[in-house]
Amino acid sequence: MGKIALSLLLLTSLAYAKEWRLHINGMHCIACTLAVKKALMGVSGVQEAKVNFKNESAIVITDEKVTLRMMQDSVAQTGYSAIAQK
């Protein structure tokens, strides 16, 4: 029963998962990706974040409740800035 509930929960979260592509400004070395990732993962509802120094970008998987503003605010607190990529 528990396994079924867990599977349903996982499927539900995947069904409503949203992928964001962000441009990150202010990273001056590869170690900065760690701080940006930590900031993004700190937003409630963010499931996965991959940050790339070379492309100055992040790919973020979130649930439907997460907004761009929530991620931007969290990233800004670490001294970087994020904007949505088109």
Partner: protein, 363 residues
């Protein structure tokens, strides 16, 4: 004499024969004092990253005439592919290993024997070949993390004033770094190596806190801005220092990375120095910077590297080979790893296990 022992002793003799004239002057330590052989073991384990691709680039020591010679080198690994290379802008010797995501165990063990000799400059003029002069000039150029304009140029001018002699200019810059900086233990690793960040601190607080890469990078930037070719040299302490426990204490070197400096004087060649270790000495021994001991060692470290530290490379702001996913590295003193293309924090021991050990052998 066993074959292994004979090979090591022969190699040590070879290292001595290759020693340039400025290292064999009467002021240098005796042979017994100045030579050391270390057996070094580095171990890496990325097995915590199940179902993920892992790639690892490890900086390795190269031979440096008169200071360091790698006698033996070997590896044991279960990586799908692995090789040694120096195919990058600075010729930084690198061991690369790659594990496919299906690999259950992802381990690498490196072993080497390195002969080290104290590097003591006697500041006597000598003939430098045109090729060396030409190559040294490359280390006048700025890079992404080593600016030579703006605040750096202004401070360099203030320090050196009307001085024309490059050696005296270098000494003024070295003394200025020692006088105005302090070791900040809260800084992670060797620091970030940003001269502008250090100078901003100085402007705000009247002094600069950081670690070896921070102070070395500032020293290099100021020297380059003053027309003196200079470079940071990343490395790792491998044994106890004869001078102070602050400069190296034991056989576990996992956290013993340390950055020093080299600068170039046209009629003397590359000269070693280490302003950052004086700030470490002051902190660890709880002594004043103007105490006789600190002043004596500051004087000694302008032109000296002890034989308990191996140099790895002088690479900054460069591209690895084979190429990584994240782009240019700012420095290469720590092993660099990526998991599914993401940077792996070298200061996170749970997900990135590595240990560095060394044993002092023949002397």
């Amino acid at each position: 004499m066993h074959r292994r022992e004979f090979i090591k002793k022969s190699a040590l003799t070879g290292a001595i024969c290759l020693t340039p004239s400025f290292l064999t002057a009467s002021s240098t330590p005796t042979l017994k004092e100045g030579l050391a052989l270390y057996t070094i073991r580095w171990s890496f384990d990325l097995s915590a990253h199940k179902d993920k691709q892992c790639a690892l680039w490890v900086p390795l020591p190269s031979d440096i005439n008169g200071f360091q010679r790698v006698i033996e080198f070997g590896n044991t690994t279960n990586a799908e592919s692995h090789f040694e290379s120096d195919h990058n802008r600075y010729g930084a010797r690198t061991f690369y290993a790659h594990w496919d995501k299906s690999a259950v165990s992802k381990t690498l063990k490196l072993s080497m024997s390195v002969a080290l000799r104290d590097r003591q400059c006697d500041f006597r003029p000598k003939r430098i070949c045109p090729e060396t002069l030409e190559k040294a000039r490359e280390f006048l150029a700025p890079s992404a993390h080593i600016p030579t304009d703006g605040a750096v140029a202004k401070v360099a001018k203030n320090i050196t004033g009307a001085e024309k002699d490059p050696l005296k200019k270098a000494r003024k810059i070295y003394d200025w770094i020692v006088a105005n900086s302090y070791r900040d233990e809260s800084v992670q690793g060797c620091g970030v190596g940003s001269p502008n960040a250090m100078l901003s601190q100085l402007e705000q607080d009247g002094r600069m806190g950081g670690k070896c890469l921070d102070m070395s990078a500032l020293c290099v930037a100021l020297m380059r801005a003053s027309g003196i070719p200079a470079r940071e040299v990343m490395g790792i302490r491998v044994g106890a220092s004869r001078l102070s426990p602050a400069f190296g204490a034991g056989e576990d070197n996992t956290k013993a990375q340390h950055c020093k400096v080299e600068f170039f004087i046209p009629n003397m060649g590359w000269i070693p120095c280490d302003p950052a270790d004086i700030t470490k000495l002051v902190l660890k021994e709880k002594i004043e910077k103007n105490s006789p001991r600190a002043r004596a060692l500051a004087d000694k470290f302008f032109g000296f590297w002890e034989n308990n530290w191996i140099a790895l490379n002088h690479a900054r702001d460069f591209d690895l080979y084979p190429a990584n996913t994240q782009g240019s590295l700012d420095s290469f003193g720590y092993p660099y790893a990526e998991v599914d293309g993401e940077y792996l924090d070298p200061f996170e021991p749970k997900s990135y296990r590595y240990t560095f050990h060394s044993l002092k052998g023949a002397e």
